[in-house]
């Protein structure tokens, strides 16, 4: 459960109606987070200066490109500091390691090498080889080792060099990580974080382009979150480490170099909340991770064509934030899900079922789910592009839904 952090200047009234004012919001994602404060989550402290600047920067935050380009943001002096997504992850990790001596990292090449995506760079020099442990290539056993250590009270962060490799540790994640809290009658909690990059990259081949969120989602006892911006990457990393539950944090190979300005102050996000990326009226587009950028790119086109899409980054893949999603559905009555998972048995499939079960009466049209093709990801670039949802497909789907 999320705990409440009282931030100066960021406290909002605890009323459900305030969240419906999202359509009046001119402020970008961070402000809208505080509106959903009504459910008592950890929240953000922001200085007033940042608020004013944030209002004028609304357009900047509609990041149109799927992959980051450096030097986009203006060079005027602002509070907060700019960094790349992998640096944000590292900052969150380092802050937590500083705060709690029980936090440790284990994975392949996380120590001396600094992490294959540089998330743990410099940490081994600072904290030593035992706290930032270079493991041999034995996913099943080092994940099991992390779980065993978590049973005693340590808070390990297990890194899978690529999420696909964690398939080898599926038994440990499913049977031990997910179920030990239950089968022991509540005696043990497993405060482990399992993280790593997944998703389709740039011609990495089928085995290195897997989306494991669809396989893990049925495991009872675990939580899953997906980060998409440096801001939410740091916040979710910290929240996952502090959580008593086992959390799987899905990162994306192509998003590590995204640049954003994040606050200097400490902040922790809620693991169970969705993020309102762009409020709108006509249609709710639900997405997560890299597809958020494809959606925002499509949103640019859609706005020019006169549509007003509401884009929500669901962030919490298990459990779904049905509150935010429901409020949006009740407003727009149309849902489009854009995901990178496979069509069969993916996150979109579960989300479609959840929305239909809970909000069927509010829907004016069937839910459309755009997912990746049910094929192994090809190596050839052109073919690879075709297996993943592209902005043009999103635009035509919205046009069709909004007829």
């Amino acid at each position: 459960m999320a705990t409440l952090f009282q931030g100066v200047g960021a406290v909002t009234p605890f009323s459900a109606s305030s969240s419906l004012d999202s359509n009046k919001l001119l402020l970008p994602s961070r402000k809208s987070l505080s509106i959903s404060d009504s459910r008592g989550s950890i929240f953000v402290y922001r200085s007033d200066a940042l608020n004013l600047k944030a209002a004028t920067r609304k357009q900047d935050l509609l990041i149109p490109n799927a992959v980051a380009t450096k030097g986009e943001t203006s060079t005027s002096a602002k509070s907060g500091h700019e960094l790349l997504l992998f640096e944000a992850l590292r900052e969150g990790l380092e802050e937590e390691m500083e705060r709690d001596p029980r936090v440790c990292v284990m994975g392949e090449d996380v120590g001396h090498y600094g992490g294959s995506y540089k998330v743990t760079k410099g940490l081994a020099e600072k904290y030593g080889d035992l706290r930032v442990l270079d493991t041999p290539i034995a996913e099943n056993s080092f994940t099991g080792m992390g779980i065993g250590a978590a049973m005693t009270g340590l808070r390990p962060i297990v890194e899978g060099m690529n999420m696909g490799f964690l398939l080898l540790a599926f038994n440990q994640i499913s049977n031990n990580c997910g179920m030990l809290h239950y089968t022991s009658g509540g005696q043990f909690t497993i405060p482990i974080v399992i993280r790593g990059p997944g998703g389709v990259g740039r011609q990495l081949g089928a085995e290195h382009s897997q989306r494991l969120e669809s396989y893990f989602q049925s495991i009872p006892g675990i939580q899953m979150v997906a980060c998409s911006t440096p801001y939410n990457a740091k916040g979710l990393m910290k929240a996952a480490i502090r959580s008593e539950n086992p959390v799987i944090l899905f990162e994306h190979v192509l998003l590590y170099n995204l640049k954003e300005r994040i606050p200097d102050e400490e902040y922790v996000l809620s693991l169970e909340e969705a993020e309102m990326v762009r409020p709108g009226e006509h249609i709710t587009i639900l997405t997560y991770s890299r597809m958020r950028y494809h959606v925002m790119q499509a949103a640019k086109t859609l706005v020019n064509k006169g549509y007003d899409p509401e884009v929500i980054d669901i962030r919490s893949l298990k459990p779904f934030d049905l509150y935010t999603i429901g409020c949006s559905v009740k407003k727009t009555h149309r849902v489009l899900i854009v995901e990178e998972c496979m069509r069969t048995g993916g996150i979109g499939a579960s989300l479609t079922a959840a929305i239909t079960e809970n909000f069927h009466d509010y829907l004016d049209a069937p839910i459309v789910c755009l997912s990746s093709q049910d094929v192994p990801t090809p190596y050839a670039g052109t073919l690879e592009e075709w297996t993943v949802v592209q902005p043009a497909q999103i635009v035509s789907a919205v046009e069709q839904l909004c007829q």
């Binding site: 035992l130 706290r131 080792m145 065993g148 250590a149 005693t152 089968t183 009658g185 043990f188």
Partner: protein
């Protein structure tokens, strides 16, 4: 000595009591004596890349006595579980440990409750050894809330956090990396404790064992891997499953020791040796040569892949409880009658625990939340209902 036997074997009448009291002085050692005894193990230890510990084991009369009582309790508990399973009060999987009691008891004698133990699914007796009660065992096996895991785990999921017993795992071999994680946590927190990770001869062929061994040896983790070799991985004999059934050698660079697992003193000596070594030098493997009388589980008769002669042969010659009984009698620590009385008491304890666990906890939520009896509770509900319907 013969006189004392006669005196104690007859029903203790008031006339004979002072006589037997006088005669008992003639007994060499009383059963609660802590005077050290040294007894040799029946078989020597065989070692791999280390020096074997001495065969002479330090023990005492009271320790031997407690061995007998605890092993008898475990044996009786497992037999009772057999009957309960056949009466369909225990469902699903039930893997019984009778025959292997010496491993659990010997290990406990050598270590403290701060050391961690993790094992696979044959865990009823290990749980008892770590301080679990008979009521918790039978409650869990019958799915009651008084069970160790509140009835949510079942036979294969016994845990006891306060005495560092980490279960109780159904998937073969999955507990081995967990055990290395426990040892890692012990090294991380700089505690002077060790972890005993138990697995069977079937699990000894799992890749994760070697992965975990490699990591434990790499980082000098205080992990002791104990292979409870009962020679059968369910229905497959060890020679049909393993190219090299010398499991204590399979660690290669990790030292190993082969121990007679039916001799509780040998197990105690080996575990003591292992604990000292692991704290200094890192992991080692103990292979306990043991035997299970039951089949793999209650759905396995246990006689399709081995002969009844083999089973009864082991029972005659190597039974751990009989061995301790002979020791107690030979050193005159207890008499036949006393040991039989203990067995009777154990049987009674087990029956009592089963009777208590059998009571279905009806509406336990209501009973625990409301500190009054059902009639009062129903009366309160009735009047509340009346009150609210009038208010409308």
């Amino acid at each position: 000595m013969a006189l004392s036997r006669i005196a104690s074997s007859s029903h203790a009448s008031t006339l004979l009591k002072p006589l037997s009291a006088a005669l008992s002085i003639r007994r060499l050692i009383s059963s609660d004596s802590t005077v050290p005894l040294t007894i040799e193990t029946s078989l020597p230890f065989i070692s791999h890349k280390c020096d074997a510990p001495p065969r002479a084991v330090d023990t005492s009369a009271s320790e031997l006595f407690s061995f007998f009582r605890d092993m008898a309790t475990m044996r009786r508990m497992e037999i009772a579980a057999d009957s309960l399973y056949k009466a369909k009060l225990i469902r699903g999987f039930c893997h019984l440990y009778d025959g292997q009691e010496a491993v659990a008891i010997g290990m406990e004698a050598a270590i403290t409750k701060k050391d961690a133990i993790i094992t696979a699914y044959r865990d009823h007796c290990t749980f008892i050894g770590r301080g679990g009660t008979l009521l918790e065992v039978f409650g869990e096996l019958m799915g009651r809330i008084c069970g160790g895991s509140k009835g949510k785990g079942g036979s294969m999921h016994f845990y006891r956090k306060q005495t560092n017993f980490f279960g109780g795992h159904g998937i073969v071999g999955a507990q081995i990396p967990l055990g290395c994680g426990l040892a890692f946590a012990q090294r991380y927190s700089k505690e002077e404790n060790v972890t005993f990770t138990l697995y069977g001869d079937g699990a000894a062929n799992q890749g994760q064992l070697f992965e975990a061994l490699n990591m434990a040896a790499l980082w000098d983790l205080p992990a002791i891997l104990v292979c409870e070799n009962n020679h059968y991985g369910m229905g497959t004999a060890e020679w049909r499953a393993a190219k090299n059934p010398a499991y204590y050698k399979r660690g290669d660079y990790v030292p190993g020791l082969k121990v007679d697992g039916m001799d509780v003193l040998a197990v105690k000596q080996a575990c003591k040796f292992a604990k000292e070594n692991a704290l200094k030098n890192g992991p080692l493997i103990l292979e306990m040569d043991t035997y299970r009388y039951h089949g793999h589980s209650m759905s396995d008769p246990g006689s399709t892949y081995r002969t009844r002669d083999e089973i009864s042969g082991v029972r005659q010659e190597r039974d751990p409880i009989e061995r301790v009984r002979k020791l107690l009698l030979a050193h005159d620590i207890a008499s036949e009658k006393e040991l039989k009385d203990i067995e009777k008491q154990v049987r009674k304890d087990v029956d009592d625990a089963i009777a208590k666990a059998k009571v279905k906890n009806k509406k336990y939520i209501v009973q625990s939340a409301i500190p009054c009896d059902r009639r009062t509770w129903l009366t309160i509900l009735f009047f509340t209902f009346i009150f609210f319907s009038i208010r409308k």
